[in-house]
């Protein structure tokens, strides 16, 4: 009985492994699909987006009217992000703006904001060290030193701290 159980366990393991292997080749494409889904999900103006995601994704974050808003992981703040240029430049250092407000819409002033990010699928960080040093007023902060040196899936992550309130958010950007 023990031998039969072991054999069955072995077959089950094999099945699971073969499933993982057989699906591995499609994982990258799957990640891309999920990524696109996230873009749709998080974009305020998703209804405006063209069916050809690849064609228009660079413009999704460009300028304030195309800003993308997400709720922080701890639910304290609503964070809106947009690039100060449109389309998003490739291979050149430029600035973004991050707007932070409370859930009921009050601008969050003088918070400590830390920005970092990179290309998770390639396991590397930004090719620059971006910074958030300047508070622009009305809950807006300048994100300086952003550079996308290659096309692909990027993440821009923010840690926000004001007093005891901490929040974090990850924006996904497809160049």
């Amino acid at each position: 009985m023990i031998k039969i159980k072991s054999a069955v366990k072995f077959i089950t393991s094999l099945t699971v492994i073969s499933f993982i292997v057989s699906c591995a080749s499609s994982n990258l494409k799957k990640a891309e699909s999920q990524f696109q889904a996230n873009m749709m999900k998080h974009g305020h103006n998703s209804n405006k987006m063209d069916h050809d995601q690849h064609k228009n994704h660079s413009n999704v974050f460009g300028k304030r009217e195309n800003a993308v808003t997400q709720l922080g992981e701890n639910g304290h703040y609503k964070i809106t992000l947009f690039c100060n240029e449109s389309p998003i430049p490739l291979g050149r250092i430029h600035d973004w703006t991050v707007h932070i407000e409370t859930q009921d819409g009050k601008p969050v002033e003088n918070a400590k904001v830390f920005v970092f990010g990179g290309m998770p699928m390639h396991n590397h960080e930004f090719s620059t060290i971006p910074k958030v040093k300047e508070y622009l007023g009305n809950g807006d902060y300048r994100v300086e030193g952003i550079k996308f040196n290659m096309i692909g899936h990027w993440e821009m992550r923010f840690n926000i701290k004001r007093g005891r309130m901490k929040d974090r958010v990850i924006f996904k950007i497809h160049m």
Partner: protein
């Protein structure tokens, strides 16, 4: 019990299968499907990517830190300096010794040889003016400051800036050319104020002579030295790659010119291009019209010397920040001193350790041996490295897995050969001036 476990096993297996099928169905890649109809039938996105690689759409970088970069007289002077061996300590080495026009401005050697053998491969300077960082580790941030470095490097020209200035000062023709661009040369004939050999280099007597000079006199010599570098950069900026068969193909694709599309690239070359963009993941770093993201990556290249690793970018970031000729220095001719690349430079060792600059792939067949130390003689060896990289000796190898067949590797190499092109410069620029 036994039946239950078997049933469970079958259920898992079935659900796995369904999940897999489901995944496939969720990812209909219409672009790929449509491309199957014809090897030249690129999707709209792919056409956009192809156009981003084309020289026809390139915007040459303008170096604002060099006020004479577009000055024809400066380029003429620069060409003379580039080929002149008198700027080396024993009169045997010129810039052209390691950057030979016939070898697409490389030397064909694994490691460059000046006065002695160096530890790095000599990169081509054709199109180098479009770079953000210079040298394979990016230890300087302008083409003109790059040109100065080998002159004071003991392994290359082994010279010093005082001797450099004096060669120009004492040669009536060079002096005339210099003054035409930069104005009157100060009188540096007084040897007690301006020793024949002086400079801030690692040779004791020369360094001592430099320290004994008055700061104002040091400045006079350094100004001439820097101007010489800017003239060389003006010459080098004229050395650009001409459009290749690949660029013409992209133009034909953009114009939907069926006849040219068919004739410019063959089946294997198009398959290689597809691999370059997709399965081979080459495009991730080799992008833009020069096929370089201007970034630094550790790709696990075997070290030349296991007892003395080359740490590449991780050391260079400290050097470029301290470089007296960097963008933040007084020698930057631009009013804009924002110097963003230096301001936001990555210093983390996990990103920079043993990382080297992504080289251009234009005329890659003419610029071997390959990698920072010339580790590989042929392109096929390089492609094999990417396909099956050896265990990393230092830092973290950032290469992504690719799994190319022998046929695919051959197709990729076939595509790379389509990037061959002449140098888009007057033939008189490709030889030593009279």
């Amino acid at each position: 019990m036994k039946n239950l476990v078997i049933l469970l096993s079958v259920t898992i297996s079935l659900s796995s299968l369904i999940a897999c099928v489901g995944n496939t169905k969720k990812m209909p890649n219409e672009e790929v499907a449509s491309k199957k109809m014809s090897i030249h039938n690129w999707s709209e996105r792919e056409v956009r990517i192809l156009e981003s690689l084309s020289l026809y759409n390139a915007k040459p970088k303008q170096d604002k830190t060099n006020r004479v970069v577009n000055n024809a007289d400066a380029a003429k002077l620069g060409q003379k300096l580039f080929f002149d061996k008198r700027f080396s300590t024993d009169g045997t080495v010129a810039c052209a010794s390691c950057h030979k026009p016939k070898l697409f401005f490389t030397d064909g050697l694994p490691q460059a040889v000046g006065l002695s053998k160096t530890t790095r491969n000599a990169p081509s300077i054709v199109g180098a003016s479009n770079n953000t960082w210079f040298f394979l580790d990016g230890r300087v941030d302008s083409l003109w400051s790059q040109a100065l470095h080998p002159i004071e490097n003991t392994l290359e020209h082994g010279n010093n800036r005082s001797q450099f200035a004096k060669v120009i000062f004492n040669d009536p023709e060079l002096k005339k050319d210099y003054e035409k661009v930069f104005g009157p040369l100060p009188d540096i004939s007084n040897k007690s104020r301006f020793p024949d050999n002086a400079g801030p280099i690692r040779v004791r007597e020369i360094k001592k002579a430099w320290k004994n000079m008055a700061p104002a006199d040091q400045k006079i010599i350094t100004d001439i030295f820097v101007n010489g570098g800017k003239a060389i950069a003006a010459y080098e900026t004229l050395l650009q790659p001409a459009p290749s068969r690949f660029d013409k193909y992209v133009k034909a694709v953009s114009n939907n010119d069926a006849e040219k599309i068919q004739s410019l690239l063959n089946k294997d070359e198009v398959a290689g291009l597809d691999i370059f963009l997709d399965k081979g993941k080459c495009f991730i770093c080799h992008n833009g019209p020069m096929f370089s993201d201007q970034g630094f990556h550790n790709i696990g290249t075997p070290p030349l010397n296991v007892k003395k690793y080359d740490f590449g970018r991780s050391k260079a970031v400290r050097r470029v920040k301290k470089n007296p000729f960097n963008c933040l220095s007084e020698y930057n001719d631009s009013k804009d001193k924002s110097c963003d690349e230096l301001k936001y430079i990555v210093i983390h060792e996990e990103e920079t350790m043993a990382a080297f600059k992504t080289p251009s792939l234009r005329n890659v067949t003419k610029t071997g041996p390959y990698m920072h130390g010339g580790q590989y003689k042929t392109l096929s060896e390089v492609i094999k490295h990417y396909n099956d990289p050896p265990a990393t000796k230092v830092g973290m190898n950032k290469l992504l897995d690719i799994d190319l067949t022998d046929e695919e590797m051959a197709q990729l190499e076939a595509f790379l050969k389509t990037l061959d092109s002449p140098i888009a410069a007057d033939p008189s620029l490709l030889t030593a001036p009279n």
